[in-house]
Amino acid sequence: MLENEAHTCPRGEVAAGSWRKFLLDSWSIFEIKVIVTRRHLLWHAMGSLIIPLSLFYWATAIAPERFETGFRILVGTLILGIGQAVGANVGQWTLMDRFTRRLRLLITMPVSKASYAIGTLAYGALHAAVLAALVLLFARLAGADYDIHWTMPLLIFSVIVTITGATLVVVSLSPDLNVGMITNSMLGIVFILLSPVFYTFDDAPRLSQWLGYISPFRYAADAVEKGFNGQMPSSLEITVLAGSALVCMVLGTMMLRWKDL
């Protein structure tokens, strides 16, 4: 009798270690973040839009022919905006979770850190989706006549996953909240701006070209630009984006501090 009680009562209705529990946990983590920020979601989106849209106007003003002949400025705005939206929101939340001890409460629950990472990714994706919709709407109003290829959401999702994973790595390595906040907000912007995203690889200065060889954002920009022209991305671009998303997310999840906080 006692043995039965011990093994049935505390386990709840959803079996531990099951896919259902994993998905429910991921959803719950996402829900926690959305409930807390839902009242300010638009403010978060506006905050993420300020720098990319400023750069959009600045770049269009100094090189109007590029806006008229291609989508590279729009692509750069989109990639930088997503980078900011995901990096800032995921980074801030995770840093706050870690350094204000919210994560400790979650750690006492039967929740895996992979669920936490996936829930966090979903939260980042929500911000990125809102931002992407606003940027595209803004660009359309500014006169950009683009197509959206069916692969575009997948390409953008791979960028979101890459940034979420990289952010989790930065957060896990941060020694304290302040360092984490500064490092997280600066690293992403600098890395994306130095990568050839607002201009093509061929037009990029040498330093940017070197970075462009390894930066997944350059491949993302090339692929998204093709998507705006209604074309499929190349197999190299797909491979690099899928690979970077996988590596960053696995690394971010593995490095997530789930004890000794």
């Binding site: 505390p10 531990a16 719950s28 919210r102 750690i107 929740v111 000794d260």
Partner: protein, 292 residues
């Protein structure tokens, strides 16, 4: 033989830098037992609780919760326990209802089950008046009720309560004691850390006294009394002009203590049952702050 709610064998924790938080902790908790952990600040009680909850890893030793090793199978082990941490770890901007509902799901309840359980706990712990308020805006006693509800969401058979009544008013404290007793009657086992002797005396079946990271004594209150101090205490003032300065002599029976008083030539004295506080200070020794 069913597995015990908690078995800790030679558990130690050494932090980077060499500091030992605790060393060689071995204890068990039986079904429906309340075990109290007493000890000065820094004696390793909270670290031990955090080792059980897997918040911190053990340097050596093993902890099993209902037969499940917390180090090798932490998620399964956490299904078996509910935790009230020492400090309020909560979603400060989330309402009480949403917090309970979401954490219910994290504890393995279905979406509907978690919502029902949240409502049930709001009833049980009388949280109606603040169920829609966010954690940041409720009082200390209300926060502690939320923490207890979070620990009790899936009605676990092992509860770990780390100083659950510290800083609370006497009425709230009595309510929490009643709640803990009800959990025992429900069949749950409880590990409680506390600085309050009265709390340990009132609630605990057995008491462990920790000091400098090790368990110095572990027994029932009567067992501690009988083998550490003695059942009874004779108190007298050696200097009549200073009634504040008293001395105590312990003994196994009243008669023996009265005889001892006569031998020592003490005419004014009182005899009482030895308290847990007396036992505690005898164990902790010179590091205690009380002067007898």
């Amino acid at each position: 033989m069913p597995p015990l709610p908690l078995v800790a064998k030679s558990v130690s924790k050494q932090y980077p830098g060499g500091l030992w938080a605790n060393r060689d902790i071995s204890l068990t908790i039986g079904p429906s037992e309340i075990l109290g952990l007493l000890g000065p600040n820094g004696s390793g009680k909270t670290t031990f609780v955090r080792q059980i909850t897997t918040e911190t890893s053990s340097t050596s030793g093993r902890i099993h919760v209902f037969g499940i090793d917390v180090a090798t199978n932490p998620t399964q082990a956490k299904f078996m326990m509910g935790v009230v941490p020492q400090d309020w770890l909560a979603l400060w901007d989330c309402s009480v209802y949403h917090t309970l509902r979401i954490f219910g799901k994290l504890r393995g309840l279905s979406g509907r089950g978690a919502a029902e359980r949240a409502r049930q706990l709001i009833d049980e712990l009388e949280m109606h008046s603040f169920e829609n308020r966010v954690f940041a805006t409720v009082s200390g006693g209300e926060r502690q009720r939320i923490m207890l509800a979070l620990a009790w969401l899936a009605q676990p058979k092992l509860l770990l309560l780390d100083e659950p009544t510290t800083g609370l008013d006497p009425i709230t404290r009595l309510e929490i004691w009643k709640w803990i007793r009800e959990r025992k009657e429900h069949g749950s086992s409880v590990l409680i850390t506390t600085h309050y002797m009265e709390e340990a005396e009132t609630l605990c079946d057995r008491i462990a006294i920790m000091h400098k990271g090790t368990i110095k004594e572990l027994d029932t209150l009567d067992g501690l009394r009988s083998h550490i101090t003695g059942e009874f205490k004779l108190t007298y003032a050696p200097d009549r002009s200073d009634a504040e300065s008293t001395k105590a002599v312990y003994g196994a029976s009243r008669d023996k203590l009265i005889k001892q008083a006569q031998t020592l030539g003490i005419s004014e004295f009182s005899i009482s049952k030895t308290s847990l506080e007396d036992v505690y200070f005898s164990v902790i020794g010179d590091d205690g702050t009380r002067k007898q």
